[in-house]
């Protein structure tokens, strides 16, 4: 008989997590434990939580959590499709369904749970299913072929998930629930009503207070479901989702303690009534509770593994878990926190119903009105993040607790006061399990803004729901560290960019000098000068190299070209929409050849020429302009490119002329200075070859016109753009872009891309729509006038420069000689130039000397 130190029964999510913990300690030490795992299923562990996604966009393979190879390579033996049938506590052995016997030192039961199917006549037939495993889903899929209707019995969380699956399979879907409401465990009656309305709106039929008495053969369909009240329902497919039961069969048979209503009894270390046998996950019963979620199971896996390895020295205990949940079912947002039903003695509740938008919210508070005990949300779960913190950390409620229920309350002060009250252990980001303490340590490590906290801790990089909380912690901590949390532009101006923008606009200020003497102090710096230069350009649009403005420009704007690492520059002519004639391509080639420039096709559908020296820039641009090119503003915080696809002119799928639209947009918005660069793209159909959804403004053709997306970003923190409006005509599209762009220019912070701006705009996308579409602030005309002024006053900056001898004076390396910089040295790579390494350059120079 083979002996293992550890045998694990069940390879579900929790059993697998346990094995991973074993592997992680096995690795570095020599004292490896011998581990054997049995799985009754034909697969190793997979992500059951995501099970339904095999009906949507995932394959079974993508849900798989591990592989046989991985186990074997880590010295874990494993057998699938082999059930453990027998446990002998005395001899410490187990026997399997194929008659093999093994002995163990420690046994882990991770047998999970099974779907409960009520004893109804007629349930043992084809096309009647449960919803728990890959096999179940495959069977449901094949039953659905050729079927018309499907019924889910059970209107709880899983039942609704199953209903969604049936709907996706194209069946007319019904949900039958025994209780008088849907999701009776998580939400209360009123919440259930709203939920029902919303679900019926999307075409799922709900039948409440029905108990199925028999399933008989149908006439038109496969079956007739007969209910106790004599009513009936015809259907082709039935899925039972009437609750789960802990899989405690082995414990019952072999005398381990089980609970009255099932579940293998465990102590705080996850030991069963036999100290060498542990139970973890959904099969375990702790303090009379079974936990039907994966996170508590994972905690148990850690506790059991630690205890198994460290023995009585182990201090890690299972301490229960919060069962609050937030999810989207059939497209409806639902959340439940703590005591949703108000069962705590003396508890009080407040509720809010918005019949127009079908939103229901309830809070349950303690008798003394100080703490949040529970909550229900249906239709909108935006408050979940704040409320769960109030609940978990027992934070004092505001004086009028009902103020929590008022949506979009202006005063968020109550929760930011709450931030201070949060203990460091409080979880701030649920998606990535980041605590307040971890956020604070990022700040101690030097993070001073949200982006840095995100990249250091992963907080707010999942669903994003905790972004505001993280921001509040950040501000509070910076204050504590004595970092002045103000949004002043710099030490020279006690205003933020938006304030300065308004001052300059209203007071018609035309120069930096005037602004700093009236509204600032000192002489300015590398932060305020370019920021003010940008505002002046956004408003008055005078050429940036004009005498009044030239000294304010940042590196690239200062010489209308991007400075490269060796002090030379790049040249990027505009190629609107990426469309270019052969003649123009030839000109670019000739210029590149004449000045020996490095050529590269950019990510923005145009050509970049590198290695131009300061004195060469005007000569190069003269040739380009003569050939009909203009500057591409690759150097400016301004419109960069409008990428396009070939669209319906060439492409067999195109539904609109995306190239013409891209050119129109690029020529309309070229040269407009903004808080940061702006990128756009236009795709000719939903295949999206121009990648418009990664742009600040993305336009995607629809059958009827254009869909406008805003706030996309590639780069450092990619963000998909949000859909702003659909099926727009050319005029509407342009009007909306005009307004959004000006609103962005007026209200964004310095160097804030539209993605971050949109995220920080209070009221978000809806607010932006109200300003742009409904003109809530009555500024639309004014914004359009500003845009029109910018368009009318556009000049190619390079053309303006080469025609102005005063401006040209600066394009020389030496003011007192015509020589170029002798220390700029190139070497060759792949038949083109590249900057020589500093050492090579020095060696070459010495050789020349």
């Amino acid at each position: 008989m083979q002996h293992y130190q550890v045998i694990v029964i069940g390879n579900g999510m929790v059993g697998h997590r346990f094995v991973e913990h074993m592997i992680s300690i096995n690795k570095p030490t020599d004292s490896t434990f011998s581990v054997m795992v049995f799985s009754e299923e034909k697969h190793l562990a997979y992500d059951r939580v995501q099970l339904s996604s095999v009906f949507a966009d995932k394959s079974e393979k993508e849900l798989t959590l591990t592989s046989k190879d991985y186990y074997i390579n880590n010295q874990v033996d494993v057998s699938i499709n082999e059930k453990v049938n027998y446990i002998d506590k005395q001899s410490k052995t187990i026997t399997t369904s194929i008659g093999r016997t093994f002995s163990f030192d420690k046994l882990i039961m991770a047998t999970g749970s099974y779907p409960f199917v009520p004893p109804i006549k007629g349930i043992h037939q084809d096309h009647i299913h449960v919803y728990r495993t890959f096999e179940d889903l495959r069977d449901i899929k094949s039953s659905a072929a050729g079927a018309k209707t499907g019924v889910v019995i059970g209107g709880g969380l899983l039942g609704l998930e199953a209903a969604n699956a049936l709907k996706q399979l194209g069946l007319e879907t019904h949900v039958v629930e025994f209780a008088p409401q849907l999701m009776p465990v998580q939400v209360d009656e009123s919440g259930g009503q709203i939920l029902r309305k919303k679900i019926e709106e999307i075409g799922v039929k709900v039948h409440l207070e029905k108990s199925t008495s028999q399933i008989s053969a149908g006439t038109e369909s496969r079956f007739t479901l007969n209910f106790a009240d004599q009513s009936y329902l015809d259907t082709d497919v039935v899925v039972f989702s009437a609750g789960i039961r802990p899989q405690d069969e082995l414990a019952r048979q072999f005398d381990l303690d089980v609970g009255e209503r099932g579940g293998i009894v465990i102590n705080d270390f996850c030991q069963t009534s036999h100290p060498d046998i542990y139970a973890i996950g959904e099969c375990a019963l702790w303090q009379d509770k079974v936990f039907g979620l994966v996170a508590p199971g994972y905690q148990m896996a850690k506790v059991a593994q630690t205890h198994l390895v460290e023995g009585s020295a182990s201090e890690l205990k299972f301490e229960g878990a919060d069962m609050s949940t937030k999810l989207k079912l059939l497209g409806v947002d639902v959340a439940s926190i703590g005591d949703a039903h108000g069962q705590t003695k003396g508890s009080l509740s407040y509720s809010f119903i918005n019949e127009v938008e079908q939103i229901y919210k309830k809070i349950v508070i303690s008798e003394d009105a100080r703490h949040l005990l529970g909550a229900v949300m249906v239709g909108c779960t935006a408050d979940y993040g704040n409320w769960i913190q109030l609940y978990l950390n027992k934070i004092d409620l505001p004086e009028y607790p009902e103020s929590l229920l008022v949506p979009y309350a202006e005063d968020t002060g109550s929760t930011s006061g709450g931030i201070e009250a949060l203990p460091e252990s409080a979880q701030i980001c649920a998606c990535n399990d980041v605590s307040k303490g971890q956020v604070i340590s990022c700040i101690k490590n030097g993070a001073t803004n949200l982006a840095e906290v995100k990249s250091q801790s992963n907080a707010a990089t999942g669903c994003g729901g905790c972004g505001q909380l993280v921001g509040q912690v950040l501000d509070a901590e910076l204050l504590k560290l004595g970092v002045e949390v103000n949004d002043h532009l710099c030490e020279h101006f006690e205003y933020n960019r938006t304030d300065l923008f308004d001052i300059i606009r209203v007071k018609q200020i035309k120069t930096f000098e005037q602004l700093i003497s009236e509204y600032g102090s000192g002489h300015g710096c590398d932060l305020c000068k370019p920021a003010v230069a940008s505002i002046l350009a956004s408003l008055w649009n005078e050429p940036v190299l004009n005498r009044n403005h030239v000294s304010l420009q940042d590196t690239n704007d200062a010489f209308l070209a991007n400075m490269q690492k060796n002090g030379t520059y790049s040249v990027v002519p505009r190629v609107p929409g990426g469309e270019i004639t052969a003649d123009k391509l030839i000109v670019i080639g000739e210029v590149a050849k004449e000045f020996n420039l490095y050529c590269k096709i950019t990510g923005g559908q145009r050509i970049d020429l590198f290695g131009a020296q300061l004195h060469e820039l005007p000569l190069i641009w003269k040739k380009l302009i003569d050939a009909g090119f203009e500057t591409g503003h690759a150097y400016g915080k301004a419109l960069r490119t409008v990428k396009s696809c070939v669209g319906k002119t060439w492409c067999r799928f195109g539904v609109q002329d995306s190239t013409s639209m891209a050119i129109l947009l690029e020529e309309r918005y070229r040269g407009i200075r903004s808080p940061h660069k702006i990128k756009m793209a236009v795709s000719g159909c939903a295949r999206e070859c121009a990648e418009a959804q990664s742009k600040d403004f993305g336009v995607i053709a629809s059958e009827k016109g254009w869909n406008l997306f805003v706030g996309g970003n590639g780069g450092m923190r990619p963000r998909h753009a949000d859909l702003f409006a659909t099926d727009l005509s050319d005029e509407e599209l342009i009007r909306y872009i005009d307004r959004i762009m000006i609103f962005y220019i007026r209200t964004a912070e310095r160097l804030q891309r539209t993605s971050v701006w949109l995220e920080s705009l209070s009221g978000g996308l809806d607010y932006l729509r109200s300003v742009v579409v409904e003109d809530k602030l009555s500024i639309a005309d004014d914004m359009e006038n500003q845009m029109q002024h910018l368009i009318n006053s556009y000049k190619c900056e390079w053309k303006d420069t080469i025609e102005d001898p005063q401006k040209l004076k600066r394009f020389k390396h030496f003011i007192n000689s015509d020589k170029p910089d002798p220390q700029v040295i190139f070497v060759e790579e792949r038949k083109q130039i590249k900057p020589a390494q500093v050492e090579v350059a020095e060696a070459k120079l010495t050789a020349q000397a």
Partner: protein, 116 residues
């Protein structure tokens, strides 16, 4: 290169004062060295330090933006934005980086550097 002697010092004539836009810099060649010269408001004061940024290892300090930090007039190097004190050539951020400072003056509307 035209050279003038005043008070026993040798000043080299570089350019017209108006060749330098206010609050910008230019680079001059002085005896094979690259020298940055800045004309700074409000009183049109001239400063001069080496044109070579020892951190970026490129000759381009003359093309930086002029500003002030902690009360010192500085030029922010164009590539990585290190500030160099216009008076002393000391980098105010990286203590180890310092460039040579030169003597510069406006003489009858001409900019002149002192030969060292």
């Amino acid at each position: 290169m035209s050279i003038r002697e005043t008070n026993g010092k040798t000043w080299v004539d570089i350019c017209e004062l108006n060749d330098i836009e206010i609050d910008t810099g230019v680079c001059a060649e002085l005896n094979g060295e690259q020298v940055a010269i800045f004309r700074v408001s409000p009183d049109n004061k001239l400063y001069s330090i080496s044109n070579f940024d020892p951190l970026a290892k490129v000759n381009m300090l003359s093309r930086g933006i002029i500003g002030e930090t902690e009360g010192k007039r500085v030029v922010f190097s164009p590539l990585y934005k290190h500030p160099f004190c216009l008076e002393t050539g000391q980098c105010t951020q990286e203590g180890s980086a310092k460039v040579k400072a030169y003597q510069v003056r406006a003489y009858e509307n001409r900019v002149q550097l002192r030969l060292t």
